[in-house]
Amino acid sequence: MRVAENLNAALHAVLEADPSAYVIGEDITDPYGGAFKITKGLSSRFPDRVLGTPISESGITGLAAGLALCGDAAIVEIMFGDFVALAFDQIVNFAAKSVSMYGSHVPMRMVVRCPSGGGRGYGPTHSQSLQKHFVGVPGLSVYEMSPLHDNRVVLEEMLAAGRPAVFFEDKVLYTRRMHDVGDLFLHDHLAGSGGTAGAARVFLEDPEAADCVIIAPGGMVERAVGAMRRLLLEQEVSCTLVVPSRLHPFDVEPLLPSLRRARAVLVAEESTAGGTWGSEVAHRIHAHLWRDLRRPVTLVHSADSVIPTALHLERSVLVQESTIHDAVLEALRD
């Protein structure tokens, strides 16, 4: 099953299970079914609760907050995650704040879906990974779609938490198969981490006994596994990949035993440089393991740059499989 199909099925399931659930967004109704076809079939089955909207990102995100305020569950699709910038105020200053700023807990069941990332030549305003801008907002969770996490479980977790969540979905990942980690590696879920959906792990034999641990969100899985494969076959370096579903708040504790044993720890993400999610994760790891680590956690991210349109230029800016590969070797060098 493709990741897009899994997500589509998850949205169907949420709407079916919860008569108060809505899906809202631009061009999401049939027959178009959304710019990335993730909402296909939804409006035909649930015409009253799947609403195609005008081009009004701020307005529809506020509208979702209004539904959430009344106890409904609202899922907003932002056509390209870049445009979540237009909804920043509604997310940060209303939806997330409302959970606690009125002195008592106000549950807000609301998810803002953001197709993100580059690699498709869509250019500087249609390719960004804006996760970092939502890290550390009180009352707000940040999730990222992964091929190793069933989207139904993830969506249910986000809604059940009663606080707004921004869900980043790597666009390239839509076309990939669920649970595809190639023929060399195994994968499992690490209990008690990254929310109840848990962090997934990709490893050779024993996830706790790798030379290197790479922590990376779902959009990086293909590149990270590709790098791990080359490192193993060409350099005999073993890596464990940890893929959290929830990026923030981030649960570092369950990871500590394997991190303590590794000779190198990396955090990889597609975000451009500066104030990254990875730097927050690294800080948390340093605070726990400062004395045990051989060297500081390595951050792997895209260049400090806009994301160009031309494919060859885009490649020079965004994290590639080779970026991770080289960073692992560098981190293991004595």
């Binding site: 250019g123 160009p308 349109t309």
Partner: protein, 308 residues
């Protein structure tokens, strides 16, 4: 609201250079769809097939000192301003000689007083700022912004109109009302009308129903002059048609809607009106574009340094 329909223009062909420009844009856009179809283009593109006459008509009303703000459907806007198919194609193909070194691509172009961006509505407040600058530094110049009917969903459009009308800024908003936004018919995304919206802010509104380039210029010339010299923002709403898909291969419109758009196409009308003159001009521009495609495709990749 009813579907806009373009009143059939007379059968007189536009003047030579206008006709050439119309055809240049038409063949440029067709070439892009062809390149995409053959897998030679990457990313996305939005063609202005059917709407070419809008920037061609406006070209006669805008001068060097005026700023133009374009949007995602901007190839016609660019070609009407610069007549530079090679620079634009190189930008879209990421080849040497690209207007913006292949960084911006189809939707993000800056050249002299021309700028485009792919985020709907964003350009209006910026154009308002430019209009404020022009009012002080070069009286008589204006800022012209192209937007679609769907872009009226964005709050920034209204904030900008209010500012421009309040401060009497030389802002010309050109609305290419093609009855659809991506897959959403205007009737499903807009309550009320563009006219009433403009009027609510005290901005002038003018509807253009024809695709006759000379007639459009005659209609608009006195109004544009008011924008320049009296600081009265103007919203010009073209009733037009999108012939092609929103981007590529994503047309879910019913066949009768597409047929209606085709029935309003200037291309077919002019071809029938004067087959000899049209045919010669058409062939010349088709060949010109084919030569540009061959030449640009053979160029080396565009060079750019993210750290520079």
């Amino acid at each position: 609201m009813t579907e806009p329909s373009v009143a059939l223009a007379g059968s007189t062909l536009p003047a030579g250079d206008d006709l050439d420009l119309l055809l240049l844009i038409r063949h440029f856009e067709l070439a892009l769809l062809d390149l995409f179809g053959r897998g030679e283009l990457n990313g996305t593109t939005h063609t202005c097939l059917g709407q070419e006459y809008v920037p061609v008509a406006l070209r006669g009303l805008l001068g060097e000192a005026d700023h133009v703000f374009s949007n995602h459907r901007g190839h016609g806007h660019y070609l009407a301003r610069f007549q530079d198919p090679a620079g634009l194609l190189a930008e879209i193909m990421g080849r040497e000689g690209a207007v913006c070194r292949g960084v911006g691509g189809s939707q993000h172009i800056l050249r002299d007083r021309y700028v485009s961006t792919g985020v709907q509505g964003e350009s209006l407040p910026v154009a308002t700022g430019v209009a404020l600058h022009l009012k002080r530094t070069s009286p008589g110049a204006l800022a012209c912004v192209f937007i679609g009917d769907g872009t009226w969903g964005e709050g920034a459009v209204y904030e900008a109109l209010n500012l421009a009308a309040l401060w009497r800024l030389p802002l010309l908003v050109v609305v290419e009302h093609n009855g659809i936004a991506q897959s959403t018919p205007t009737t499903r995304q807009m309550s009320g009308t563009v006219r009433a919206r403009a009027q609510a802010f005290g901005a002038r509104h003018h509807g253009v129903e024809t695709s006759d380039v000379a007639a459009i210029r005659r209609e608009l010339a006195p109004l544009v002059s008011e924008v320049r010299f009296e600081g009265r923002p103007l919203v010009v709403e073209f009733a037009t048609h999108r012939l092609g898909p929103h981007s590529k291969g994503d047309d879910t419109r019913p066949p009768e809607v597409v047929r209606q758009a085709e029935a309003n196409d200037w291309y077919r009308r002019y071809a029938e009106a004067d087959p000899a003159r049209f045919g010669a001009a058409d062939r010349a521009q088709r060949e010109r574009v084919a030569a540009v495609v061959a030449e640009v495709a053979a160029r080396p990749p565009a060079g750019w340094d993210p750290c520079a």
